[in-house]
Point group: C2
Amino acid sequence: MKQILIIGAGRSSSKLINYLHQHAAKYRWEIVVGDLNPEAAKSRIGNKVKLIAFDINQEEESSQAIRQAELVISMLPAKFHILVARHCIRENKNLLTPSYVKDDMKLLEPEIKKKGLFFLNEMGLDPGIDHMSAMKEIDAIKASGLELLGFESFTGGLIAPESDDNPWHYKLTWNPRNVVLAGQEGTVKFIQEGKYKYIPYNRVFRRTELIEIEGYGTFEGYANRDSLKYIDRYKLHGIPTIYRGTLRRPGFCRAWNVFVQLGMTDDSYEMNDLKNMTRRDFTNSFLYYHPTDSIDLKLFHDQNIPQDSDIIGKLKWLGIFDNTPIGLERGTPAQVLEHILKDKWQLSPTDKDMTVMWHKFTYRDKTTKHLLEKHLSLVVIGDDPVNTAMSKTVGLPLGIAAKLILTGKIKRSGLFIPTLPEIYEPVLKELENYGIKFKQTIASPDN
Amino acid sequence: MKQILIIGAGRSSSKLINYLHQHAAKYRWEIVVGDLNPEAAKSRIGNKVKLIAFDINQEEESSQAIRQAELVISMLPAKFHILVARHCIRENKNLLTPSYVKDDMKLLEPEIKKKGLFFLNEMGLDPGIDHMSAMKEIDAIKASGLELLGFESFTGGLIAPESDDNPWHYKLTWNPRNVVLAGQEGTVKFIQEGKYKYIPYNRVFRRTELIEIEGYGTFEGYANRDSLKYIDRYKLHGIPTIYRGTLRRPGFCRAWNVFVQLGMTDDSYEMNDLKNMTRRDFTNSFLYYHPTDSIDLKLFHDQNIPQDSDIIGKLKWLGIFDNTPIGLERGTPAQVLEHILKDKWQLSPTDKDMTVMWHKFTYRDKTTKHLLEKHLSLVVIGDDPVNTAMSKTVGLPLGIAAKLILTGKIKRSGLFIPTLPEIYEPVLKELENYGIKFKQTIASPDN
């Protein structure tokens, strides 16, 4: 019996646990799930796997649990992966995570290599399926002797069309704090037609693009932080255009931008006197003073929102003009906004989520100079609020990678993300069995 | 002979050195000026005082120089005051600085008190004259049994009307880096009519006020970082309105806001490929891509600047559309912008600068309930690019405070800013001899 230790039994672990459980008998795996609160986890995942108490801050217990595993999958919040990684190095265990490789993890690379271990990060949806699907296409374009001129890529965690019943066309299908702080990680950087371009936070939600996906209508994309680092990661040196972004439904960004402009997404200071304030007071604290004008009107005037704009309905629906108490003793503006959003944007028990990914490759035949565009699109709909599209698209790549590692199909040592054919080929192939399959369209670019 | 050690012989030290030199014979002071580069300092201040080499990073030398002084005045960049302060505590010396008390200095308070030393900070213009003039008026209003309802205060380092010959009505009369980074120190916080108000960086230069100063025309003021901390400092608990800001000439802020919106004031990352870029390329890197439209037009369109706006002339005059190389090997957007501004906004040898301060006090007679507004305004014009208004208004309060300390007129121990009558009364009185005198106007508020 080979033991797989999954650390963290949150919402996005359910599909991963199911997948591994389904394959456990065949491959003789023992699945152990470690969670801070195993009782609560049991109510979500049932009795099919072994549940243990696991607290990454308990040095000795953590080491002991990891020592018994053959492979560790960390589903903890991103900042804790480094702690798990250090245990894995000490105990000579391979590690899988769905999160970005941060500098602290990168520093461990020589040790990982020296010990002959295999650490695979960024093995979820975004990052994860984005890397695999993009690299497969990029490698194919290069192999055909075509010249890649542009790569654009967008991903979004959204609400399925059948559950889309609010004016924002959005609900919280993943960490709400990240939704509020989106775009604040640093200045956006990308290249377009050979020119470096920079977008500050206050412009991110106005510099959007519209994207059509057949059968699912129109989406809008705003730019992600640093697209330039993908030049190295995808070996695209010299490419004239590279751009990565996040998808929302049209109109979302323009309305969200109101919060950005007013300062409601600011997480840098605690507000004064919050416990005595209503949502209406919260909104007013970002507006100029006027002895008689209404707060609604001041906001529309201040933000130059025309009387017939859809933004007005969106803002009113969220309740930011309501005379109800905020209900927090203290907090930053971002925390107050998150609190309001959680109220309105929560998934109902019958809601289904949707993950969407879209890539655009622009390339040229080196001899005919003929320009072509290929679009790849992926839409996954969740089954229910537990078996979400997010849980499938994050959990299945991890599960499949776990199988490849434990069955000896991947034989590497070091720190990786899934950009190698020996990883992306079998994973993308098996994902198709679960309906996670890209559609492709060839188009002629119209500039 | 009592020795006064002035550390740092930069531009703003000249008037301070002059003042002390003029009083040296009478009070039997020896003036010593320590500077990193005493030769260069000599060319600015001549032979009238003793010049020594002083490097605050040389622990032993610094201690030795400070040991011989009776009083130390630190004119170094703000971050070095803490090092001077530690030497002063060790050597039992009193200290004067024109800079804000930061947390690290605040931590020394118990030691300063225990040793019976007197450290006076924030003793220049802003901070400095602002504290003294405001506290004098606040104390008088309280003493008259009037109820203070509002305090607003603005200061600016500007160009004198006779030297005002560019469309921005602005030149660099102090640290250019601070001009570029202005407003980025944190979210603006103030109270207006009993309501807490917050302004994020991207809105600071649009939420301005117009201010009239008789004889000098109209100014505009944008909000400073944290006005709330002045409630404690000025003992204004319960005041319904408190607001502090910075003065520019009208139209400056709206045009400056273009740089803020585009991200040109961002100091958080280094730009790519700077050495091959022109100023025009720099501007373009913050704008959307278009194959044929001109960069000028893209900017006006992106920023919604009408064809007849004065902003267009301001931007063109600065040269941000010019095809001249930037002339920097590397740098952040803020550093590039500073480089461009230094070129255009520098003082010519015949230019005079101007410092302007304006306070507004709104108060009420407790019995008649009659509302009144008092405005205090101060305008100081420089003599020439060496004896600037900035140097006078920063240096003279320090010089006068030095005299008060050395002649035993101030008998306190601890860490202070000049909000006590025993400091502000004699300093403000003597400043009048140098033409630094507030004018007052009484008005009825018109809301």
